[in-house]
Symmetry: C2
Subunit: 362 residues, 2 copies
């Protein structure tokens, strides 16, 4: 953890950043393995060249103290946060900070406290500092992510083994949740989209009943060791709907193209271009309305984002999803998603489950 | 819901506010009964005198469309949110807004998008607009909150009926959770703090075993109908520890003083003063380190906050907690908490469960 703080300070020097302020959330969890309760009371980790400490509601101090030795500037509901924050800035030597990095996920009023106190400071978000560091995973993170991917493989197979026509989407989701729990993982999310529901990329799993000829989008994730999985596979009940296999082949080709394009030194949009190009060439461009992928680490969605415009340069150790899709309104949707870690020679896919269509006996 | 939008517009005119921007969360839920998925993609409800509509990630549009007829300015990952937001501001007649209200709970980067686009606008948070409206509950809200309070009464009684020495705090918490679930409510949170653990106001319920002579703080809440309960009662295992009954009597007197002080037209700090005064007079001032209460509605913590410095004027229809406590390190903690709604002649306590100490047969 100390290594991560040192790495952050090195980037701050390089970029002329005087102060980094983080709220409760993923950045703080990554930097210090700290997960304080977050509510409307300003709680900030502040890092300068000479200081790292907390603006801390007195109510949280006792329990936070069990997890960190860093100094606290506590404040009570009675006094409010301003005076404690002013004193912290003095300790941090940052009362005249000119360049401040804010956690982009913190509450707007936490950000307001920092900005209104440091009126002369230029504000930026953490993408080139904490965000940049978080993108490159170390070996311990790789091992946890790999274990998570295999857990998801097992959960997906478990669902395939038990799902059948007549079940609802929610019942299928329950199979997945049960498998994650049996493996000691926490079910994090799942999208089960049957038939035409699959054509909504973010379909809310519901009471729709699986029937013969339905294609089923299954996008699942469970959490273990502070990280998670995220994988999408396709199943059909009994038999694929008309035209399905051709579209599945296009999406698979898009995945392959993205995998081939992802190399260290390449910009993230190049990977998106590759997947999108395959889909557009096949005539489905307008039916692929989301980005090709997102980074994954202590958060399920984090940088790098693989969009059509992203200028982020890919580096070894980055972990991200590759998940092109084609969504045909009123008919079906197809998405194939794998998490990869970028190696010198290209991406290593974490899952060991093929992306082939799985046919469920109706 | 339309009534709430009209009421908001009336306040905007009164206060010279050109634009209100809300993220996914409690303000939006209260205003439109909308609960869109919130992630890193900017999704904003924007309200001006002539316009109410959404900046909407294209990925969320289909599912959000099922819950609202308001116009969408959609944007894709490919294009980013800026152009769509610019177009929305034109439709809203707010491209030259001078006064903007931001949802204080929205992500800092959502707030950044609004502020960086409307550089000439003065920014404030929603406390005098949406926040002010949300504080006064209508009859339908009262009925749901009353039902939630009775659900918590039942859950507390259920726990008392089954807890005993030798159980862990987590096992007691499970009794409470089960009762909420049996009643069709969603367990939202609970603090079970046995013995010296009770002296941490936000103790994290754990593996500590209840033993003879432990005082147990039980702070519970479940959710039903989009609202929740929040109540704290005290139990002891077998026999109260030395000095317990005197301190319990002080906390009860503080509750009574706060109840007597809470009247329409009175500032919120007066209620805090009343409770704090009783506790300070008894010599325990330094052991009551949090505010006396918080508002409750679609959020468990929301305005009005009853702090030592709050200038908020209490009005009929406001719903808030009264929850003084005394926390004696290494010994025990005592908190007594009730939710009240303010009527013309003072507070109506929603719970029907006495605040007396409950003795569990060891």
């Amino acid at each position: 953890m100390t290594d991560r703080l040192s790495a952050l300070r090195a980037l701050m020097v390089e970029q002329g950043v005087d102060l980094v302020a983080l709220g409760p959330g993923a950045h703080m969890a990554w930097l210090l393995d700290l997960h304080p309760h977050g509510d409307e009371r300003p709680l900030l980790l502040c890092v300068s060249a000479s200081y790292a400490g907390f603006l801390m509601p007195v109510l949280e101090a006792e329990s936070a103290r069990q997890h960190t030795d860093l100094p606290f500037h506590t404040w009570s509901d009675e006094d409010g946060a301003q005076a404690a924050f002013d004193a912290l800035l003095v300790d941090a030597g940052a009362q005249n900070a000119r360049s401040v990095v804010l956690d982009e996920t913190m509450r707007a009023d936490f950000a307001g406290l920092v900005q209104d106190t440091l009126l002369q400071a230029k504000r930026q978000f953490s993408v080139t500092t904490v965000g940049a560091l978080r993108m490159r995973k170390d070996d311990s993170e790789y091992r946890i992510l790999k274990q998570n991917a295999l857990t998801a493989d097992t959960a997906m197979r478990a669902a395939w083994g038990h799902m059948r026509a007549g079940m609802t989407e929610l019942e299928v989701a329950e199979l997945i949740r049960d498998s994650f729990k049996d493996q000691g993982a926490k079910p994090m999310f799942n999208i089960v989209g049957a038939g035409a529901n699959g054509a909504f990329p973010h379909h809310q799993t519901g009471q729709a009943v699986l029937k013969h000829g339905d294609a089923v989008v299954m996008d699942i994730g469970g959490g273990l060791g502070g990280y998670s999985s995220d994988m999408t596979r396709m199943a059909v009940i009994g038999q694929a709907p008309d035209g399905y296999m051709d579209v599945h082949a296009v999406v698979e080709a898009a995945v392959q193209a993205a995998l081939a394009a992802a190399k260290p030194g390449v910009k993230a949009h190049v990977v998106d271009d590759a997947a999108r190009g395959v889909i557009a060439d096949a005539g489905y461009g307008e039916y692929f309305m989301h980005r090709t992928g997102h980074g994954m680490g202590v958060e399920i969605h984090e940088p790098p984002y693989l969009t059509a415009t992203s200028q982020t340069v890919l580096e070894t150790g980055m972990v991200f999803s590759i998940e092109p899709g084609i969504y045909l309104p009123g008919r079906f949707g197809i998405r194939l998603e794998d998490i990869v870690i970028l190696r010198e020679d290209g991406p290593e896919v974490l899952s060991e489950l093929p992306r082939d269509l799985t046919v469920i006996n109706a």
